[in-house]
Amino acid sequence: MAGGRRTGPAGRRRATQSQRGLLVRAGRLLARAWKMLTRRLPTSLRRVALGILAASFLVGFVSAAYVASLDRRVRERFEGVRFRLPSRVYSAPTILYPGLDWKLVDLRGSFERLGYRAASETRDLPPGQYVWGENRVRVHLRAFEHPSRPEPSRDVVLRLRGSSIAQIRAMPDGTELGAILLEPEELGAYYGPNRQQRELVRLDELPRHLLDAVLAVEDQRFESHGGIDLRRIAGAMLANLRAGSIRQGGSTLTQQLVKNFFLTPERTYRRKLQEALMALLVEARYDKPAILESYLNEIYLGQRGATQIHGVGEAARLYFGKSASRLSVAESGLLAAIIQSPNGTSPYRDPERATRRRDLVLELMFDQRRIDAASYEKARQEPLRLASITPEQGDTRYFLDLLHRQLADHYPSEVLTVEGLHIYSTLDHRLQSLAAMSLSEGIAALERRFPALRSDDPARALQGCLVALRPQTGELLALVGGRDYRVSQFDRCTQARRQPGSVFKPFVYIAALEPVDGGPLVTLSSFLDDSPLEIDSRNGPWAPKNHDDRFHESVTVREALENSYNVATARLAQEIGIKRVVRVAQRLGIESRLPAVPSLALGTAEVTPLEIARAYATLASGGIRPEIESIEDVVDRSGAVLERRRLQFERVLDAGTAYLATNLLEGVAERGTAASVRAGGLRGPIAAKTGTTDEERDLWFVGFTPDLVAVVWLGFDEPRSVGLSGSGGALPIWRRFVEGATGGVIRGAFLRPPDVQRVAIEPSTGALALAGCPERREEYFLRGTLPTHVCPDGARPGDRGDGVPRRFLRWLGDRL
């Protein structure tokens, strides 16, 4: 910052030495004077005189010590960390392009949240303003300051056709643009205990009329006084004496700064004296520009929810949606006007009072010749045009907490709350809001439908979480760790481990489908035994049952997973080996401990929803497991990039097996337990799995499209029965989220790799269906695993020639 110290370290050493010399000379002089003065006095009087002198020295010494301590406080504050700057977290930027549905991305809402102001059409549209016309939006995008990828400020026109952006052109030359970025939205910040928000500004960045406005109303003789203004004090004292209490302040800007930096807000003479002394010290040590700059960065200018707004930089953003460097005379007048009482004269609460006070400031500026008559009139005529206040985003706090935990290793709290870092995250602001709304409204809807779920005790209320990722890149797009952060900050997406139930089953099937040691154990048309089963386990015999309390004898792999049969799945897991299931789950992204027990196949090991999301993301991206990324960059306040996170992924499953698993899960969404996922008309490729644990304590729904994976979990924090299934409780929340995210139409397709063939089979036997086969349906196989039986020749209904590789038949034979 400009301004600061009068002397450097060498200067202070010289000052200390000369001070000592002065003291010595002063002492000698005093001693001589004492001798001269008391030479003719009687001894008794000499003693009294000595006493008075000693007392005077003591008082002087104590006063000097007191002043020295005040001076030290002043220096520590001005030469140490002057301002606590909270580190801010930003969302991913919104990308606008021709063909995008602007209603779906809530373009107008984005403008408002970013503090853009609606304006009338004008030739020179300033940055931060937009004009919304019939089929056209003109917006002057603000520059997006980022050291490695700055986006310039741009005046653009978006031609609209219905809800679609038809074209984007740059003004004024009309160049067609392929894509433009809206700057990231601020999600929140890491505050210190005082929850102060500020944007630091330098004096040379600010318009002169802003400084003039502040000086005109708060301290017109700032440039000439030495810290206290005796005229002002005299006037205030007179007024206070008449009133019999402190009614009027005579404080200079310097005194106000001192009060804010160091002192309590009490209004006593003692406190006033202290303030005056410190103001004198500040003025002795630091120059006027430094003091004014500190003042303009410190001054309290209002509230935004629970956050205090300090400094003209932050206030300009809050009230006008622009940088302080671009404030007009009228806007500067308004900011200066509210200094005295930011909440009482808030232009949002009482615009008329704020305008009157602003006009008073403008009048003072004119009277003091700080502005001419024309500027004064123009400013007075300017209507109040405020940016819309966006409340703090409560629904992002789970995500902010997650980042805090992730950043803690390199950036402890003391750094985050003071250093003013800029943290650019992967969060999609729109999806985050959608996720929060879907979860809270979804749970509320369940409670209305099933009043037994409701509880007056928030600690016993039904809870949930929703997490969404971009599967190919692992970017975390949305995270809502509970239904209400204000009630519970516990993040159920990342911190709660719960039994996943049937959402774990796909790992069993993947282990069986994966070609290992010459071939897979099963194909999608293989038949599994769903007859009664009893397994010896550490806890005694275990006999799994199906949800419909029936046994289905012989079912295909596809049927078993689509209908989530427990018995067939448990038997299959035994056949391939539980340890192999564990390895597959871990490879796909499960990091929690997975005990190798028979019931693991049915999801009895506790995992987090985020892990489940990652594992399913691996399927959605064709067997390539992504690392979850929530941060893109960390930048310090000077603009230096401290960290640039890179996307990371690794192939952990062959593309063919991943496709088969995905196809199975598409079947779950088409015909199986997740079939109601399209009840709202959702179109396009969806793969999904429902999950309900024993006694319905945990409800899960995991679903993915080619571009998005989302997991919903519902349950009580103290596990007890919800009385619903995953499809009844969690699925509707997922559906609502994805419908909102996609507009009801899911883009893209699950791509079939070349080593997966699609052939027709005879459903009851699994035989390859040739021409003439009476029944046929399509099925998918890895190359080299096609059924060996054919229909109509060589196969009859009731045969179980299912084309399973001979290896499995041999294995089975060995065990019978």
Binding site: I95, G178, T473
Partner: protein, 145 residues
């Protein structure tokens, strides 16, 4: 700069696909332009934004693989190549003009990992198929663009 008709140039597919795909490809082209100007951070940003719009855009992965070869980051290059290959093969878009880049870039990545002979074998194949682009054993951003 030579344009080799035996190798894919991203500009040729700029108009292909739906709106998201076209916007994504335009960002890839901007990224390649940034890479040409030796602005790797800006280039990376454009490629990642391209994936943000359309995570199924194979040219974005191809450009990212090339970018990471240039940054000498073999593991990332191979991971992006894997994505690109899967997408091209799954959509039957893996023409010889595409596969020459997949071969060549994989060759570069293997050499970065110290597997010189394996890498060289692939580079020789690529050079044979598209000598004007792969003749020097390297794919520049301009050549891909």
């Amino acid at each position: 700069m030579q344009r080799d008709a035996r190798a894919l140039h991203v500009e040729e597919v700029a108009a292909a696909g739906d709106a998201a795909r076209r916007a994504s490809t335009r960002l890839v082209l901007e990224g390649l332009a940034a890479d040409s100007r030796q602005q790797p951070d800006r280039a990376l940003s454009q490629y990642e934004r391209a994936l943000q719009i359309d995570s199924g855009n194979a040219v974005a992965y191809l450009a990212l693989a090339r970018h990471h070869i240039e940054q000498r980051d073999a593991p990332r290059a191979l991971a992006y190549l894997d994505h690109a290959q899967l997408l091209y093969e799954s959509t039957q878009a893996d023409s010889p003009r595409v596969s020459v880049h997949l071969l060549g870039l994989r060759g570069n990545a293997l050499q970065l990992e110290g597997r010189m002979l394996e890498g060289d074998a692939l580079l020789v194949q690529a050079a044979r198929r598209a000598p004007d682009v792969w003749g020097d054993g390297f794919l520049s951003a301009d050549e891909l663009r």
